[in-house]
Amino acid sequence: MSAVRDESRPSVAKFQLSKESELRIEATQGHAVTVTLLSGEAEILGVEMAQNKAYSISNRKLPVFTWHGCELSVSGPTDFAYTASETPMPVYANTFGVIHSRRKQAEALIEKSRLEGESISRDGKSVANEQEPSVQTTQSTSDSKIANKTDQATIANGGLESEKADPARLGPRVIIMGPPESGKSTLASLLLNYSVKACGKSLFVDLDITRNAISVPGSISASTVSKVDIEEGPLLDASLSFFYGYLDPNENRAELERLLASLGSVVAEKLAHPDMNGCGYIASVGGWIESCSRDFIGSLIESMRADVVLVIGAERMFADVKQAVEGKGNIEVVDLPRSGGVVRHDKASTNKDRFKQYFYGLNSTLNPFKTVLDFSSVSLYKVGGGAAIPASALPIGAEPTLDPNRIAPIAIQNDLIHSILAVSQAKEESEVSDAPVAGYVHVAKVDMQAKRLTLLAPAPGELPSRILMAGTLKWLE
């Protein structure tokens, strides 16, 4: 690792990168820094750079990697900029290679059944059995396991016809786990961006409740991606988001598990859609997974119907996850090395940024709108109303009467100010805890006298629903 460290370089610096090396840059806070590819080929998180185009990396730390060698110029003040030749990229590339092969197998299975004119839904079982041998001949032992997983997935799902047929048909379902700052989101971006490049599309699932890249913190979400931009990141075609309302997974674990099950079944349904053509998904969890129990990890993997779990740089977690999936069908757990150039997050500021990005977009490109509503025109709910009463606090033998998942209508109070509320897609109260959200609003003002609420909404016009959900999320603009 050769370091070219230089405090706040103001001018243009040129870097010659040899084959399979990486330039790690951190822009000095608040300064404009651009990277330009002068010759050769280079990529940022798996997205190829165009030549002679200046990419702005202000306020970010980015690795620029080259497979073939390249020349780069960096202009603007950087805290550090150095080249590294020891990277886990070859292993990551092979990881992508395996995922890609699985996709091609899924595609082939779909194509085969389409040609044979088989009805997937009518006789799913026989389809799976017939296809099993063809999978085995082409792939080593690990693949025959996928076909065997059929039963397992069906139980977890409880009735998705398409899934009964053959989960291998859905393509690889990959969850990335690891302790905080291990490079989960970096690897997720890399795999996602390679997938989009090679297959034209992918499904990105973000299970990180603390720093959700698809919607806002406090939610879990999924989005199809067919275009990627170096500066803007993955461009989300269509997103689906479920509101959890807390930043701590243990605050209301039962509710989080329930949402994961809902998201998992919708994602499985999406993957079975012919348009997806066996592309599978790439999912990432937050570093908080470290604090979660083995049971929870197991149920998360099961709910999401994952068949591959990548664990980055943590032997203990790797062992834990392995145990967690024991007996849950054939789920491959893979340990991956971590990169030396891991991006560190400033937790508080990232959260703030995420909320701002939701309403105003990256670089203030979006226009949110303020809407004033009467208290009486909205119904506000809180899921569970907080943590369940610990059993020890109850009289011996008594069951807790407060179900942590119970929907509780709550009154609008002054303390609602600055809260992030979810606009539910539910039509009635009973659906509230399971329905995804249409979006999020920010409480800008609570006028107790006039009984009016001023909300910042992402889009103009009426709210799509008057059913709002509250958690503990606050955002001070």
């Binding site: 292993v91 080593s140 348009d275």
Partner: protein
């Protein structure tokens, strides 16, 4: 630029060569040409006026068409588009004899303009071409589309480094003797440097030139097919080779330039050799080889000179998957030998993608990298994205163009994030991007419209891109009857027509401002309605 359509002109000439016309035709042409000089940007009044003049002088159409065509050839690159819009206006509004007159050279004119202009104008030209199939006929438009595709492909080739060329097939067989240097070098991605003036209109009749152009296209197409097969590591199918051979045989009769002739003959010899090898191989290995290529070849063969192809006996699906069904090793080895002349290095890497997580730490990753680079040869110079096929690249560039346009257009107050779609829509592949394109102002219109359903009921507010409007026709009121203000006119890219901005047509056929029609804004809206907030 030299007068492409009047071969005697030297490059520095800036007026059309009117001597090519008969004395009586000369004067009207010169007059019309004087008018044409006014058309330097896409101006509706000027185009209308010129169209009107053309319509009133149908008898002098030969002169007028000559003047327009010459002017397109002479105009600076950025002034060519308005002239093509004039052609469009004349053929659409007057039609008849003018269609016949313009039809003769439209292929040449359109494609040569397309070869020169920048990307943005190309996108406009494609939209224009989209509206022409009813006018100039599907067949001619198809020909133009092919040239458009070729140019887009060449642009893509431009950006990629010479990695995959071991192939000695000339990209293009020029039928012209004007530019021998462009056809001298036999290579396969050099087409980008060759100029479009490969058909000299003076030496050949238009029909012959078109036939030759079509021949070139067919040759090119088959060559491309062989190349793409080679990149994928497959041998070219016998039928494609035979078809190409037949085409070249026709071509040899028309080529006069000795250098070019030699090229064609070389290629012909190479192909003949390849055919013989394939036949030998077929004799040794009678199982239907690459059946899918035969189907492709059949669809490619529309030129009558070619002998019909024998249909394959089997029709196994094309296994593009890298590992799903590996080809019979013995067979593929033979195919390789047969195609030694037509193969690239990509073959070696094709199947070497890691297949198991157990091996990811040791497995050579070159195959996967090839998957992400070498197998996606068409790189977009604008943003670095790569694609396997030229069409994909073009679709991407179109998308990128639209995206950048959206980004730069600040008019009407930008865009908002849309609400998430429902589960059912999401699963069915509904897209948010289409919804988020909806302009905020349009959204306000929708709301206002909802409130005012009674007044504006049944009225259709057409929307297009960023602007709302209604097509303008002659005799429209130019002033809104409600507010008394004049309408603004804008050019609708999607529909290729002029429109009144922010306007709608009411039941009385009069045009009104959308705002005027839906006002007064109700009281309630002022407090409960949406108000834009400043970012910050």
């Amino acid at each position: 630029m030299s007068g492409v359509y009047s071969g005697q002109l030297r490059p520095d000439v800036t007026t059309p060569n009117f001597s090519r016309l008969s004395p009586e035709e000369r004067l009207p042409a010169q007059e019309y040409d004087a008018f044409l000089q006014e058309l330097t940007f896409n101006s509706l009044p000027v185009i209308k006026n010129l169209t009107k003049i053309a319509g009133e002088n149908i008898a002098a159409r030969r002169s007028i068409v000559f003047a327009v065509e010459s002017r397109i050839g002479l105009a600076e690159v950025d002034k060519k588009l308005p002239l093509l819009y004039l052609v469009d206006s004349i053929v659409k509004n007057i039609g008849g004899e003018y269609i016949q007159a313009f039809r003769l050279n439209i292929f040449k004119i359109f494609t040569s303009v397309y070869d020169k202009v920048d990307y943005e104008t190309c996108a406009r030209l494609r939209k224009l071409l989209n509206t022409w199939s009813d006018i100039f006929g599907q067949e001619l438009c198809d020909l133009m589309w092919r040239r458009v595709h070729e140019r887009d492909g060449r642009n893509a080739d431009n950006t990629k480094s010479s990695k995959t060329q071991s192939l000695k097939i000339p990209k293009k067989e020029h039928s012209s003797s004007q530019y021998p240097e462009t056809s001298k070098r036999p290579r396969y991605d050099s087409g980008s440097t060759s100029q479009p003036q490969n058909i000299s209109m003076d030496n050949l009749s238009t029909i012959e030139a078109q036939a030759l152009a079509q021949l070139d296209i067919q040759v090119q197409r088959l060559t491309n097919e062989i190349v793409s097969k080679a990149v994928a590591g497959q041998a070219p199918s016998l039928d494609v080779l035979q078809a190409l051979s037949a085409l070249l045989a026709v071509k040899i009769q028309h080529v006069k330039n000795p250098d070019e002739l030699k090229n064609v003959l070389d290629l012909q010899a190479q192909i003949t050799q390849n055919i013989q090898q394939q036949q030998q191989q077929a004799a040794q290995n009678p199982t239907g080889a690459s059946s899918n290529t035969i189907n492709e070849a059949q669809s490619a063969l529309s030129v009558p000179q070619i002998t019909p192809v024998v249909a394959p006996t089997t029709s196994a699906p094309a296994w593009q998957g890298s590992t799903a069904q590996p080809p019979n090793p013995v067979h593929s080895a033979k195919t390789d030998r047969a195609s030694t002349q037509v193969r690239t290095t990509a073959r070696v890497t094709r199947t070497n993608v890691c297949g198991s997580f157990d091996k990811i730490r040791k497995f050579p990753h070159r195959g996967t990298i090839a998957l992400l680079y070498d197998e996606l040869p068409h790189k977009s110079a604008a943003d670095g994205n790569r694609f396997a096929k030229v069409e994909d690249l073009r679709a991407h560039l179109d998308w990128l163009f639209e995206k950048n346009k959206k980004k730069t257009s600040k008019q009407h107050g930008g865009v908002s994030r849309s609400w998430f779609i429902s589960v059912a829509e999401w699963v069915q592949g509904g897209s948010q991007t289409s919804a988020s394109k909806a302009n905020t102002v349009e959204a306000i219109f929708r709301d206002v419209k909802k409130q005012e359903d009674k007044d504006v009921e049944g009225l259709h507010i057409p929307t297009s891109g960023d602007k709302v409007g209604v097509s303008r026709t002659d005799g429209d009121n130019e002033i809104c009857p409600i507010c008394g203000e004049k309408f603004e006119t804008f050019w609708d890219e999607d529909e290729q027509t002029w429109k009144w901005e922010d306007a709608l047509r009411a039941a009385d056929e009069k045009v009104y401002h959308v705002f005027c029609m839906s006002s007064p804004v109700p009281e309630g809206l002022a407090s409960a309605g949406p108000k834009p907030t400043n970012p910050g």
